[in-house]
């Protein structure tokens, strides 16, 4: 029996590209995913609930929301979370994401996140890397600036989604922008969206995101703090490890 309940508001259209952006390093994926939802005016499709996440209900403009939700349009779907996901929820949520993707004939799962770099403060335009589970995933090459992640370790929920994708032979990949680790990084999220524009012709205007960057940094301090507490227990520390294969 699944550990998650699905609350359906609207049917998920078939054959979408599914972006996943949940709290992680620099909140890059969360910021990018939320910006895609608002820019493309996606509609709420489902809410997800589980006894593996804290009992939280979010209120926005007087309406209640589940903290983990999926929005969609005919072309795209976006999974977001308002809370840092505890390690106890990561495996079962990854499996559920793959179940939803397969059931709704999702074409690709595109994970959005950051890769923390020590000199982020000196970087004006963060580079974006692609980490793919198969050589057959090539659409990210439409953007000449994206580099393939050749060495390194990915930890946390994104690793769990990629592993589940490998097991089920599902085409997933991650887009990772150079980012801060400890601080919300809307600049890195902007870099991701610019690459998404090139790959999927989304034509999202990133100007408002860059204009609101300082306010986003200010308002997401608490979420960043809670996220770091969760990341310490989710395998993220291995991202700073040189893999044995590399030695």
């Amino acid at each position: 029996m699944s550990e998650w309940n699905i609350i359906t508001y609207r049917e998920i259209p078939k054959e979408t590209i599914m972006f996943v952006g949940v709290p992680d390093v620099g909140l890059v994926g969360s910021i990018a995913a939320s910006f895609i939802v608002s820019s493309l005016k996606l509609e709420l499709s489902i809410g997800l609930d589980s006894d593996k996440i804290p009992p939280i209900v979010l209120f926005h403009k007087g309406k209640p929301y589940f903290p983990v939700r999926l929005y969609s349009s005919n072309k795209f779907s976006v999974l977001i979370s308002e809370i840092a996901l505890p390690i106890e929820a990561i495996y079962s949520l990854s499996k559920l994401i793959l179940d939803i993707a397969i059931e709704n004939k999702v074409k690709r799962i595109v994970i959005l996140s950051g890769v923390p770099v020590p000199n982020r403060i000196e970087i004006k335009t963060p580079r974006v890397f692609a980490a793919t589970i198969s050589n057959e995933i090539t659409e990210f090459k439409k953007s000449k600036d994206i580099e393939l992640l050749k060495e390194g370790i990915i930890g946390g929920i994104y690793a769990s989604i990629l592993k589940e994708s490998i097991k089920r032979k599902f085409p997933s990949y991650a887009l990772l922008a150079e980012s801060h680790l400890h601080y919300p990084d809307p600049g890195a999220a902007g870099s991701l969206i610019e690459k998404i524009n090139q790959i999927y012709d989304t034509n999202i205007d990133t100007k408002p995101l860059f204009e609101q960057a300082e306010e986003i940094r200010l308002k997401l301090r608490e979420l960043m703090k809670r996220t770091l507490e969760q990341l310490r227990r989710s395998g993220k520390e291995y991202e700073y490890t040189i893999p044995h294969l590399y030695a």
């Binding site: 403060i121 601080y183 300082e214 940094r217 200010l218 301090r221 608490e222």
Partner: protein, 142 residues
């Protein structure tokens, strides 16, 4: 039981209670100082052999002229004025008041040379370097 031992146990209990209260207060508080209308910024502290490096994220602070850094032998205090005050409309936990500055207090756990500390502010990030009093010197291996 010996008096000194009872006192020792009481002291440990007081320390444990104090630590739990501090953890609880930090865990359940938003990053604000409501009474002083201050926001508490995010920061991180790194320690190298010879210095302590502190980064403080200060969004909506425009210039180094708006920032004050004070360092004692036990603490660093950072205050920074926001370019405009901010209200968190409809967020009950922040109250109805406007916040117009950041304030941060960071305790130091090693003796430092306060006069030799340096700070730089760029891209909304404050970086403070504080040399430690206890310095390491390289020795020659015979």
């Amino acid at each position: 039981m010996e008096d000194w031992f009872s006192e020792y146990i009481r002291r440990i209990k007081r320390e444990i209670d104090k630590t739990f209260k501090e953890i609880e207060s930090e865990f359940f508080s938003p990053l604000i100082d409501y009474n002083n209308k201050c926001l508490i910024p995010l920061y991180d502290v790194k320690e190298t052999i010879n210095e302590i490096i502190i980064h403080v994220d200060l969004p909506n602070v425009k210039s180094k002229k708006d920032i004050e850094v004070m360092i004692s032998e036990t603490e660093v205090i950072v205050e920074a004025k926001l370019v405009r005050s901010i209200k968190f409309e409809d967020l009950v936990i922040y109250g109805k008041q406007a916040y117009d500055k950041f304030r941060l207090e960071i305790p130091l756990n090693v003796p430092v040379e306060t006069e030799k500390a340096k700070a730089i502010f760029r891209n909304g990030m404050l970086e403070i370097h504080i040399p430690k009093k206890i310095r390491f010197h390289k020795i020659e291996i015979e």
